[in-house]
Each structure stands twice: as C-alpha cells, then as structure tokens.
Symmetry: D2
Amino acid sequence: MDKIPVGVLGATGMVGQRFVQLLAGHPWFEIAALAASERSARRPYGEVCRWVIPGEMPPSLGGMVVRECRPDLPCRLVFSALPAEAAGPIEEEFAAAGYVVSSNARSHRLDPDVPLLIPEVNPDHLGLLEVQRRRRGWKGFIVTSPNCSTTQLVLALKPLWDEFKIVAVNVATMQALSGAGYPGVPSLDILDNVVPYIPGEEEKLEREPLKLLGQLEGEAIKEAELAISAQCHRVPTRDGHLEAVSVKLGRRASREEVVEALRSFRGLPQELRLPSAPARPIVVREEADRPQPRLDRDEGGGMGVVVGRVRECPVLDYKFLVLGHNTVRGAAGGAILNAELLVAQGYLN
Amino acid sequence: MDKIPVGVLGATGMVGQRFVQLLAGHPWFEIAALAASERSARRPYGEVCRWVIPGEMPPSLGGMVVRECRPDLPCRLVFSALPAEAAGPIEEEFAAAGYVVSSNARSHRLDPDVPLLIPEVNPDHLGLLEVQRRRRGWKGFIVTSPNCSTTQLVLALKPLWDEFKIVAVNVATMQALSGAGYPGVPSLDILDNVVPYIPGEEEKLEREPLKLLGQLEGEAIKEAELAISAQCHRVPTRDGHLEAVSVKLGRRASREEVVEALRSFRGLPQELRLPSAPARPIVVREEADRPQPRLDRDEGGGMGVVVGRVRECPVLDYKFLVLGHNTVRGAAGGAILNAELLVAQGYLN
Amino acid sequence: MDKIPVGVLGATGMVGQRFVQLLAGHPWFEIAALAASERSARRPYGEVCRWVIPGEMPPSLGGMVVRECRPDLPCRLVFSALPAEAAGPIEEEFAAAGYVVSSNARSHRLDPDVPLLIPEVNPDHLGLLEVQRRRRGWKGFIVTSPNCSTTQLVLALKPLWDEFKIVAVNVATMQALSGAGYPGVPSLDILDNVVPYIPGEEEKLEREPLKLLGQLEGEAIKEAELAISAQCHRVPTRDGHLEAVSVKLGRRASREEVVEALRSFRGLPQELRLPSAPARPIVVREEADRPQPRLDRDEGGGMGVVVGRVRECPVLDYKFLVLGHNTVRGAAGGAILNAELLVAQGYLN
Amino acid sequence: MDKIPVGVLGATGMVGQRFVQLLAGHPWFEIAALAASERSARRPYGEVCRWVIPGEMPPSLGGMVVRECRPDLPCRLVFSALPAEAAGPIEEEFAAAGYVVSSNARSHRLDPDVPLLIPEVNPDHLGLLEVQRRRRGWKGFIVTSPNCSTTQLVLALKPLWDEFKIVAVNVATMQALSGAGYPGVPSLDILDNVVPYIPGEEEKLEREPLKLLGQLEGEAIKEAELAISAQCHRVPTRDGHLEAVSVKLGRRASREEVVEALRSFRGLPQELRLPSAPARPIVVREEADRPQPRLDRDEGGGMGVVVGRVRECPVLDYKFLVLGHNTVRGAAGGAILNAELLVAQGYLN
C-alpha cells in the first residue's frame, strides 16, 4: 500500500525527535510535515533542530522546511509532541479541522471523552471516539498516550489486574534524564546526586492508571478502583525509567501464577502484528540484578517492558521491578503504536 | 581528661579510613593502633593504605606502623571495620581478651546477647552486655552498629514508633557507591545506570529494625512486631543513601503530628551531649525537592538524618524520604557514637 | 579594624554565590549589599537565589533585600560577577561614581588601561590604575581577574617564565561543569561524554597570559612574547579544571630546576600574608596519578594550584599537569585576593 | 564460500566479548572455539562469561563449552584477546603449531619480525611474515594490532604523513572506561573526576606510531622519524577515546589541503572492500563541537575515526581532534580487519 502521510507537531523537541526517528523508517507512515513553534517555522529542520537523541537526524529530513502548527498540513494524521502549555488548543484545532491527532501531551489525557490509550491494555476505549466527535462536533479526533512512567507501570499491572485484580500499588521510580526533555536537568543538579521530586509526576502516576484500567460503560470510562502511591525520583541515567513496585492483589496467587501471568501476556497489537508492537510486551527476567536501565531499555526496540525480581512482599503481596524506555514506549513509540491501532481498526478511513 | 587510646581493626578499608578520619580529631579518643590483614602488617599506614575518601589522610598517622589484628594492641577500646568474613572470630578473640569492641561488621549483629545499638534509639539494650559477658565468660564485650541503610531508616522510624506505633513499612532505597567499599562497584556497571540489587541488603533492612525497635525483656530482646518490605538499588552517587519510605501507623495521626514527632525527636546522646551526637538527630526539610544526597549528606557532620516530603500515602498512611551519610552515621560515625555512649555510661571503667 | 563594607554585583549567579560564600566569613570584608538584575531586585536574597554550590547559603544573608546594580550601594568596594553582556557598562558606571570594582567578568580584561591581575604574578600592573583614572576621568577604577582556565595556567607558568623564559606553551584542558555557570551544561549533553568546545575559551587562554606576563612600560603593558596553543574540553566533573601543559623554555633547564622553580614560588600575597593567599601558590605532587580534580581542587582552600607529573616532553621541553579550582581561585576567590592586595597597598584609602 | 572457522583466546574478558559480538554475524568467519583461562574451561560460555558490553551475548554461543588456550582448537585462525601477562608464550605456542594468530595483546607488537598492522596504514608490513616464519621456524604466524589510542591517532596521521611528512606530534587523550577492561576503573575513582594517568599508555602512544609509519626495508621495519609527546587521561565516558592532537608538518600546507588529505584518504581495505572496512576510514566533521564520544563513536560501525576542529596551531602547525571506538576499531574490530586482510591476500591458504 502507499504510505500514509503524517505530520509531527512539536518536531524540534526531544520527543519530537523520537517521533521523527521512529517514523523515518516506518513501514506504514511517511513524514509529510514537520511543524513547530513560530520561531522555527519557515526554516529547514536541519537548521532549527538541535538533534540530541542517539543516532543521526534522518538525512532526508534535514532539508524539510518546518511549518507552523496550523491545520493546513498535507496529511490527515498528526502526532503531537507539543509542550503541555501549547498542546491543548492546538490539538483541538487540528481535530476540529478533521485531523486525527495522536498526542503524547498531557493536556487532554483526562478529558472524559478522550481515550487515554495503551493498545495492549484498553483498545476498547477507542469507543469514546464516537462520543468525542459527536459532543464536540469535530470531524477529526484526539487520542492520547499516557505519561512515560505510567505506560510501563500499567503494562506490567494489566495482566495482574485481569487475572487477580489489584487492590493497591506502591511504586518508587528512578527516572531517566531524557524524561525532562532538552535542555532539561542541569548537569550540576544531578552529577553525584538524585533529585527526589519531579513536578506533577506523582499525580499523573497515581491518577492515569485508574482511567487506563477502567471500563468503558456507555459514553464514559468508569475508573478502576485501586489505591496507588507513587514516589518519583530523577537519577543520572540517560534513558529508561526503573520502577520498584509492590502490589496487593485481589485474590491469593502463587509467585508462579504471577510470573506466568506477566510472561504470557499478549494484547491486540501482538495479535494484529502492528509494526511497532513488540513480540512480547512484557519480558520477565530471572537474574537477581535485572532489569537495569542501560542493559534493558532497548528490549523490543524500546517497545517492550522488562520485569524482574518478582518476589513476595512482606507488606503487600508481591514486589518487582519494571523498566521501560521512556522516550520510545513511554512517549513517541507509544503514540505511534496508538496510531497503528487506529489504522488497523479503520479509524483513518 | 587524658584521651582514651583506641585501636582500629581493618583500618585500611573504606570504613576503616572513615574511622581514622573521624578519630583523628576526636576530643575523647586517640588512635593508639591501626590493625589490618597480615598483608599490610608491619608497614607504615601511609604506604599500605590507598586513601579513597574525601580529604587527606591525617598526616600524623601516615607513619604509624600497621599491626596485625591480634589482641595485643595498646588500648582497651577497639573499633572494628573488618570485612564480615573475618570479623566474627577476631572480634570474639578481642572481647575474650578483655577489649571493648565497637563493631560495624554484620557478624554479631543478630547474636541474641550482643547489642545492636543506635544510641538515640535503644540505649537500654546495653543491658545485654552483662548477659553477654556472663554467658561467654568474657572480660570484654562486643557492641555492634547496624547496616548503613538500617540506621537512617530506624532513626526516622523511632519517633513514629514511640508516638504512634508502626504496623508496616515499605522502603525503596537509592544507595551510594561508597556503601560497596573500595574498589566496589565497577564504573562500567553504574555509569548511566542503576543496579537494582545489593546482595544481602534487603534481608538486613527487613530484619535489623525489628531488633533495634525491640524491647529488652529479662536477658533477651523481644523483637518488635511490624512488617518491613525493602527494595534496594545502587545509584551513581558517591555518598548518602536516599530512602523512599511509606509507613502504616498504629493509630491515626495528622501530618502535623508526624512532622512534629520527627522534628522534636531527641535521644540520650543529645541529652548527654556526646561529642559525635548531632544537635538534632532528624532534620525535617519542607522544600519540595529535598533531601538530596549531594546537598544534605553532610547534615550534622554526617551524623544527622534528613527527612523530607512528608505527605499522606494513598496505600499506607504516610510517605517521606530519609537521607543519611552511609559511611559516617551509617558506619564509622555510628560506631564511634556507640563507644561514646559506653564511655559516658561507665562501661569502660 | 572595622570590616570594610562591600557589595556583590550579580550575586545570584554561580560565581556570585561563591563571592557570597567566601565573603561571609572574610576577616576584612563584610557584605553590605547584594545586587542583581532588575528581575531579582527588591526581594530577599534567600528567595531569588537558587543556591547551587556546595554548602548552605550563609543564613544571615537570606533575608538581605537584593538591590539593583546601580551606583548607590552603601560601600566603596564592589565585586562583579556580572555576565559579560551586562558587565561592561555597569562596571564603568560604578568606577565613574567612585567605586573600586574588582571584576571577574571578561568585558574589560583586555582594555589597555585596566589591570588584568593575579597578585602573585603581576602586582606591579596596578600602576595602570593611575592611567585609567586620569584618562577616563574616574574617581574609582576597575581591576579584573582572568578567565578561570587562564589563572591556574599562568600561576604555573610564572616561575618558569621568571627563571627560564618560555618560548611556547601547548595546553589541552579538561574543564569542570561549574565553569559554564548554572543551569549551564545540560546533563544529557555531558553524561558519558566529553564536549570538545567551549565558546571563546581558547581565545582567552591564548591571549590573556600575554598580558599577565607582560611588562608595564610607561602607561601600557607590553605583552609577553610567547606562542600559546589551547584546546579546551568540557568533562563531567563538578569543580576543578585540569590542564595538560607542555612548554618550550627559553633556556635549558633540568627537571629538578623546573620542579624547584615551581615548588619554591612565592609572590607578594604570601609576603603580605593576605587573608585569601594560600601558603604555597603552587603545590607540586610527585605521585604518578595526581593532580585529580576531585582530590586536589580544594588545595589551599581552593586558592592553591596543584602541579603534577612534571616530565620531559619529546616535542617541546617539559610537560606537566595543572589543576585549579575554577570558581574559587579561578573566579570569586581570585577577585577577592585582588581586592585584598588593593587594600594592603592603600588603593582603598 | 564456506565460512572460515575461528577461535577466540581470552573470550570472557571485555575485548574477548567484542570479538564474540563482532564475529557472531561475520560474513567470512564463524566461531568454532572459545578459549579462556583454566578457571573457565569446560564450562558453558554463558555461565562463565559476565557479559558487560552493550547488547546481549549472541544466544547461539551461550551453550558453547569454553576450552583451554591450547593449540588443539578446531580452526586455523585465532584471535587473541589475552591479557598481556599471558599472551606472549600462548600466542607463540599457537603460531608454532601452525595457527594464524591475530592478536590484540601488546606482547609481540614491537618484536622486529612481527607486523604491527593497521590495514589502511601499512599493509605491506605483512612482508615480515615470511621473515617471522623462517627465523622462528613456525608454520603459523602472529600479526598484532596496535594499542587502542594508537590506532585512531595513526589512522589520522597517515594521510598527513603521506602528503606532507610529519615532524612532531603532541597528543592529549581523554580515554574511555572500557579501555581499562572489566572490572577496570572503580566508580569511586572516576565519578566527578579525571584520572591523569594510565600505566604504560603514554609509552605505547609515543612508540607504536613510529613502527606503524615505518618502512619495510629488507627484513626489518625502519621506524619513522618523528617526535611524539603523549599525555593520557581517563575520563568518565563508556566508549570512545578522544584525542587532542597538534602536528608539525614536514612542509607548508593550507588548512584546505590538510582537510582534503584527511577526507579523501582511502586504504587497501576500502579498495578490497573488506567486510569490516568502513567506507571512509576518516570522517571529517566541520561543526564547532564535534567529534564527541557519545555521538560519534559508532561512526562506520565503530570502525571509522572522526576528525574535527581542524585549525591552525600557534605552536606547531595544525591542531585537531580524533575520536575512535576503542574496543571496536581500537581492539577487536581492528584485529578482525587484520585477519580479513590476511584472508584477502591469501595468507590463510
């Protein structure tokens, strides 16, 4: 088939660059427009974008002239890596104009009629799209992907939720520098240090999973009922968020059952063989000292999450580690997988 | 008064060096002997000891000839920084020979008749010493200090335990490189990484607090009853363990009560004005992003612990951060404070 | 004597903070005014200044209200830590109004009538002050301190220049993060990396030494004649610039003569016992692996430079390492020492 | 053609792992034997080898039983990643027994009858092999690759040597942690630090280029005549040695000529299209701040070297930066390219 032309909003930032990198060799999509702030518009991408992620900027895109974030882009699908301050109204403008917006920004994540989507977790929430279009009178629509630290946690929780229910979750994160964007964390703040605070992060991590694990009932999501407590820390790693998780399950389960639930988990993207879907969404490792950010963040091309050290917890029921690539699965890659699901399910026709 | 001559066993290692540094300017103690393994014995300290901690080796000690770890040292009080493999029998030998041994090794920590001591927490456990001497027929005795990650946790738990009781504790640690000694963690393992496993650490952190918070009943410690779950991680910081803690209290308490209990906490070392006792054992900070290892590890000369971000926990009752200097309060400094208490209470007479 | 009231211009930045820290306990000076940009003015220092250097902000200054950088400060001596963009005209305004300005900014360093001063190196250049005042019609004057990487290099070159003359210098630097100020270098740029470029740095390092080693002849400095080649690199260290230097001397000299010249070097600040003067401006170490930034940057309270690995060079004559604390001797401490010399020599009367 | 069976001596160390990784997908070679010390022998590779380089151990090799380093391996070509202490006699034993040994160890590099080889630089030095065999009475032979910091330097010097001759070279290195092997540099030594000393490194860097750029005359290499001064430093980067180089040329040349010589350089491996040969052995970048270890070390699959910041030098003639991947081109990759040249030129027939 011909490739589907797509645009990237906020293409010069760090997540924008990941979109560009992952879309450059994508089998279904083709970049037709790179859009950014007024300041960058009308100049070549290679000139206005200070490339900061590993690998080189795709050479074919260096000469593409950056456009403003206005709904006149030559495509129907746009990915949004806009900063939250700007994302809200711009994404709405695009959706109103008929664009399909796959957003990584937080602005609309908790809107009742906007799907907050992880394709392996809650593909049925796309049922909200009809509601969204009708209520808002839009020709297009917005789909959002969760915060980076949320995505990997919920991927690991989903099979436990399905099998055993979950009553409570305690999570302490050790998050990578790239999660703060570029320039992000000053080196003087983090060399030989840990910063035990990331503005807004704990709130997102305690709230977004409730919507993701919730049920589409009629025209709304009924949020899941479980208690989540998050403590978020920035550590001097480049990529890959590590999370120390404990869970209290809804029913008794053996360690073997827990591991088996995690290990055998597959979702719709695996079934549909979506191009960005990892063969195994969750890889369970049995070594005593894994997962580690540097060694495991690229699992499944950065789209898999790695679980390790599953063991009994003297306070809740089980504890384990979850690692995911925060700017691939946790950001651009996640939003691309969302778009692949939209395509596969005919939402772009 | 004349200074009390002391010896350091295992003086060439990293904790040994901290002992040497802290004792070099000590108002009560004076280093009379540095002892180490056979391999280092009979050579000058300055030659066999590769100094790896901040600051220079005290110049006056560079020429002191290192001795073997045999009970013929010219002092009655010895500090043990021996590796656990060696500490067990050597410490016993010294105690049998009449030495007072203040040990930082784990070998005897859980012996029923050996005090595991934090002077602010359980000074009355020194009552075990009479039992120890009687049972073992020793003229001297052994007192131990807890594992580094335990000490700071229990210091922060103690006022809560006293005021509200504690039912459960969940703790995720981010521990500094110096905790692994020297050479310790290879740089290739930890640059741009977190290692989510420290052998034996979680076991110590789940067990030692029960003894520390326990009650001396007759000739034994009745361990405290509370559930502790620990997840331990090594991060690329030099000094200062950071711990993300959640607690379930025995009774309802407001945030203000919790903070007030922490902030107003004082112990016997403060009352006795022991030289190494920090004015405030616990410093509570109210900034959103503190404590941080690099900024807060030297609080109270490394003898204070810093608590921050006290807030409600959706799963247990309260959560907060605890930071302590792992090789000062958590190791050498802790054992020196123990010895100061012994002196103040007449155990060296 | 009563302390001399002083002001700090640009007090909220990283170098400004070093001024505040070093002046807080100064025996001669007392902070009477903290000045900064319009944005910070009229608010308490503790509120507008994000303290980023080791140690806490001096508590007594947290409440001092920040003033604008206008020549109405209640003092006669001001230290300038202003950014180069702002320093030029503001410093002139102060000097015109009668203030003595000890500046760390680069704006006036190469002005023919402004002393570029290292007290151990060229105290006689203060002879320019009379020229400066006369020509400019100022009641006050400006004295500048060199760029951080220059100061430590020239301190090490000075005794060689005096004893042997120097024909050529090759220097490759490994400079600390704090040299870029705060927020400065993004952590994503420098973790697991070296950045081989610091804008403007090589030019300063190739030019400023010529003035510093030059001769005051009549009303001008005749620059020294020697060739300098600099290659500057940013490395992930917090403080302390390390420089790999090779020199071609004007006459033959043995290694012993070179070392002896370095080791025995003393200057006017040592003779006058200025409060910030290190006992030995240059410490020569003989270990194979010193100086190291982390171990040696605090030599002489950060005011000494450490030279090591002096050895023959197959291309030029000798090569060695020089380490200095870039924000102490190389910035605030250097400018304070300059002011101490001014006081000692009666320039403030 | 059928793949050529090869063995790896010292397969469990860091360089050994790079050999395994690079050979796992090699188009000409196939691993037939992994050999290591007595201690590892007779156990599966996956069990005795703690994999420390990026990427996973090739799964097909995890089960291969490690053999001792004795000349009974089922192959004729062996790669040696043995530590220098062991390499000398073992490599001789293999060569005597008829094996072709492509070694990365330093033991035989300076033997007069052993080629020290970089295929782009001195392929004609293979003429020594006949001498070697004859003199030593061996059926096989030994070819060596240079020290990591040498290889990249000499690759960059070669076109300048050929075009302009070189009179003198000054080089200051900033070398990666992986150059010290595993466990190598303790994290406490290098966090927030630079170590300005690498045992033996400066000697190698000042000596090996003379042989590499030398001429095969009759039965010996006449070393090149040029002065080299090296200053070597360890910095906290994982992979990629950065070198700040200045050169004095044998004749005047414009910057354009110098850049053109570097940029247009090709060697025999490019002509022969050897599988590991990068298309361009030297990539010249014009950005002000490149090359950087993290961004440029993987150029040409780690087999290319990157030169940047070519500019005039006030002391010698030109200065520039050279970056290379120390464990790929500078170690295993270099030795594999050597073997490819041997195959292409019929030395294995």
